[in-house]
Amino acid sequence: MENQVDTENGNPNRLRRQSSGSSFYSKSDVDSEFAKDLNDEISLENGANATTMMAPNQNLLRTSSHPFTTTVPPNSDPSSPSRNNRGEQIRRSSAVVTFSSKTAAESLPGPSTRKYPSSVPVSQPPPTSSSSFEPSTEDYNQSGASSSKFSLIHQGLQKVGAHLRNKKNVVSFRNTLSHSTTTSNFTNGTVEFNDVGNARISESRSTGFLSNEASSNNISTLDRQRIADDILNKYRLPTNSTPNPEILHSVVKKEEENDNIEKADCQSPYYDPENLTTCKAFIDAKRKLRSVLSSAVNLTSNSIMSNPGGGNGNDAISIAIFEYLKLLLAEAINDQDRTMTAQIREVQRSLSLFDSKGIRKLLKIMRDENRKRTSYLHYLQQSRLTLLQLKSCLRKLTTRIHREEDLTTECLVEVLVRFYLEKNEQFIRNFIIDFQQLHVQDERTDSVDKTLQKLCDKMSDDQIWQGAKEKHLDCARKYLERSLMGYIYHFALYPNGDADQFRDEVFHKSLHEIGKTITPDHRELRIPQKLHGECPWPSAQAEIAIINAYKSPRDKMECVLRCCETIENLIALASGQSASADDVTPVLVYILIKANPPALLSNIQYVSGFYGCRMRGNEAYWWTQFTSAVEFIKQLLNKHV
C-alpha cells in the first residue's frame, strides 16, 4: 500500500532512493537521473510488492555498480581530454568489459532473486520491459528469460555510460555493449575491443575482476544464502539432460515466467482504475502510443505534446490526442500504410479505455520519460558522430595501405623486369642498333611497338612470370617500355640530332625572354582577375618543369596530365567554380612560359610520335590543351618578334 500512495503522489522514487544507499548520490546528475529512471521502471512493473522486492534488488544493483564506483575514478574534467585521460579511459572501459563478462556467469541467480523468488507472493504483472531506455526493448521482451540475466549488467553499463559520456574511446565501445543482449555479443564486444586496444586491457581486466570480487563481498549473507539455494534449485530440476547450463537456465526461466504471466493475468484485472499507472492496460497503451507517435514525423505532434497544460484541462488534452490520432490515421490511410493504420486504430482503442484523467497521466508519464531519455539520445548521437569519424579515419588508413601495397608491388615488378631484360640483353642490343637506322617516325614507332610486344610475349613464357596476374603483367609492360625507351631515349627525342637540339635551344631562349615581361594581364592572355591570387601557380610549374626527368612517353604524358589537373584544381579553388577551358588555356600558357622546361618542342614531338595513338579520354583532351597552348606560345613569339 505504501507503494500505491507513492505513485498517487506522482513521486514513487523518493522513499526508495533514500533507502537505496549513498552510492547513488555520489554520482553525477545524469547518473542519478538514470538511476531514478531505473527505479521508476521497476516500481511500475513490480506493482504493489515492489517495496518488498526492492531490498535485494537494490542491493544487487548497488553491487553491480560497485566495480565502477571503485575502479572508475571520479568524473574528470571532460573539457581537457589529455593523453593521460585517454589511457585512463581505456582502463575504465575495459573494467566494464570484465565486469560484464564475468558477472554474466556469476550473477545468474541475481535476476532470479530480483524477479520472482518463491518466498514472495506472486501477484504483480509480468515484467514487460526491464529497462525503458534500452534501445532494443523489443528484443528484450522476446528473448525473455535469457535477457533478464543481463538486465542488471545493462543497467550498470548504462550508468557507467552516463559517466563516461564524453569520452571517445569508451563511447564507441560502450555502444557495442549496450546493444548486445547475449553472451556471444558480449564476447564479440570484448574481441572488438581487443582489436582496438592493446596489452593494457589485460592488465586492467584483472583490476576489474578484483574489484568485482571485492564488490561481491558486499552482498549480505542472507542474499548469498538465497542465491546459493536458487542455484541448487535450478540444477535439481528434472530437465537436467541439457549439457549447457546456459540453455537450461533460460528454459527454466522461460517456464517460470510463463507461469508468472498466467498467474498475473488471473489475479490482476487488465484495466484497473484503482491502480491506474500499474495496470496492464496502462502500460500497453503507453507502449503503443509511444510506438505510433515515434513514427509520426509531424510538427503538430510537438505542439500537442508540449502544450498539454493549455486549453480547458483534462478534456482538452484527451480531445487533442484523439484528434491528432485521427489525423495520423487519415495520413496512414492516404499512404495506404496498412501496418500503421492498424497500429493507430489499436492505440485509439486502448486509449478509449481511459478517462481524460488517465490520459493526462499517461501523457505526463510519457513526457517525463521522454525528457529523461533526451540526455541518452544526445549521447547516442555523439557516439554515432564519433563512430562515423572513426570510420572515415579507418577508410583513409585502408586507402593508404592499399597505396603502399601497390607501390611495393610495382617496385618488385621493376626489379624482376630488370632481371628479365638482362636475360634478353642481346635482343635489346640488336633493337637499339636497328632503331638507329630508322629515320621515318612511323617506322620508329612501329619498331618500338613490335619490340615491346615481342618482349611481352616472351615474358609470359618466362618462368618467373608464369603465375603473374594481369595487373602485374600490365605493370611489367610499363616498366619494359620505360627501360626500352631509356635505351633509345636520345635518338628518339632528337630524331634529327643537333637540328632538333638547336631548335629547342632557340625556343627555350625566346621563352626566357618573353617570360621576363609577361604578366597575367598581358593583352594576349588576359587571365581573369579572380585567378590572379594563385599566380604564378608554382605547384603546376613544378610539375611541368620536370618533364625531362621522365623517359617513357607514357610517363611524360602523365606529367603533362598532372600539370593540367593541378591548374584545374587551383582554378576551382580560386573561383569556387568548375574550371572551364576559358580559364585553363591562358593559365596554362602563362605557366609554360614561366616554367620553360628545356626541349619542350622535342618532348611534344616525342610523345605524339610514340604515344599519340594510345591516348584516350581525358589524356587526349589535356594533351590537346597542352599542345594548343604551345601552339599559342609560338604565335605569341612570332608577334613579339
Binding site: E568, S578, A581, R616, F632
Partner: protein, 191 residues
C-alpha cells in the same frame, strides 16, 4: 564517342547535361573542361566525351586542334544576342569546311528561358538549320529545357560504328560550338 568543341555558353549547357543541374551563381566544383556522360539509346550506349575550349577570339586559331576528329558539334548561340547568332553561322561554315565530313552539327539557341529578351526568332534559326542540314533546338541550361534532348538527337544521328553500335571504338565525329559573346566572354554563360 563524341568529341565536343564547347565554347562559352556550352560550359553551362554541358554541365547541365552531365550533372543534371544548373547553378545560377555557383557551378559544381569539378572541372568543366573535360566531361563524360553515357546515355542509353535503344540497344546501344553512347558515351559522350565533351571537350571544352577557350572561347575568346584570340584563341580561335587553336579551335581546329580540338574539333579535328570530333564526331559531333553543338554550336550554341544566345537567343538574346543577334551577334552571337552571326558568329554561330561562321562556326557552322568553318566546321562544314574543315572538320571531318561526317560530323553531326547541332545548332542550339540557348537562354530560351529569357524569351522576353529574344532577338533571334525561332523561325529564322530553324530555317537556317534546315538549309544547312543541322539539328536545331532552343535550349535552356537554366531550366534544362531540351538539354538532354539535343544530346539524344545527336546520339541518334551519329553513324553507328561498324560493330553494331558498340561504344568501344575510338571513333571521333562531333563538335559542339557555342557562340562567343563579344562584350564579355565569361558573363555570356547563361547566367
Amino acid at each position: 564517342m563524341l568529341r565536343t568543341l564547347d565554347i562559352n555558353f556550352c560550359s553551362s549547357l554541358v554541365l547541365r547535361f552531365v550533372k543534371g543541374q544548373f547553378h545560377e551563381y555557383q557551378e559544381s566544383t569539378i572541372g568543366a573542361a573535360f566531361l563524360t556522360q553515357t546515355i542509353c539509346l535503344d540497344d546501344t550506349t553512347v558515351k559522350f566525351e565533351i571537350w571544352d575550349t577557350a572561347g575568346q577570339e584570340r584563341y580561335h586559331s587553336l579551335a581546329p586542334m580540338y574539333y579535328r576528329g570530333a564526331q559531333a558539334a553543338i554550336v550554341v548561340y544566345d537567343i538574346t544576342n543577334q551577334e552571337s547568332f552571326a558568329k554561330a553561322k561562321n562556326w557552322v561554315k568553318e566546321l562544314q569546311r574543315q572538320a571531318s565530313p561526317n560530323i553531326v552539327i547541332a545548332l542550339a539557341g540557348n537562354k530560351a528561358d529569357l524569351a522576353s529578351k529574344r532577338v533571334v526568332e525561332y523561325e529564322e534559326a530553324q530555317a537556317y538549320a534546315e538549309d544547312n542540314g543541322l539539328l536545331f533546338m532552343e535550349t535552356s541550361a537554366k531550366s534544362s529545357m531540351n538539354v538532354n534532348d539535343i544530346f539524344l538527337a545527336i546520339a541518334k544521328k551519329l553513324p553507328r560504328s561498324e560493330a553494331g553500335g558498340g561504344p568501344a571504338g575510338r571513333g571521333h565525329g562531333g563538335v559542339n560550338i557555342a557562340e562567343e559573346n563579344p562584350q564579355s566572354a565569361r558573363k555570356s554563360c547563361c547566367s
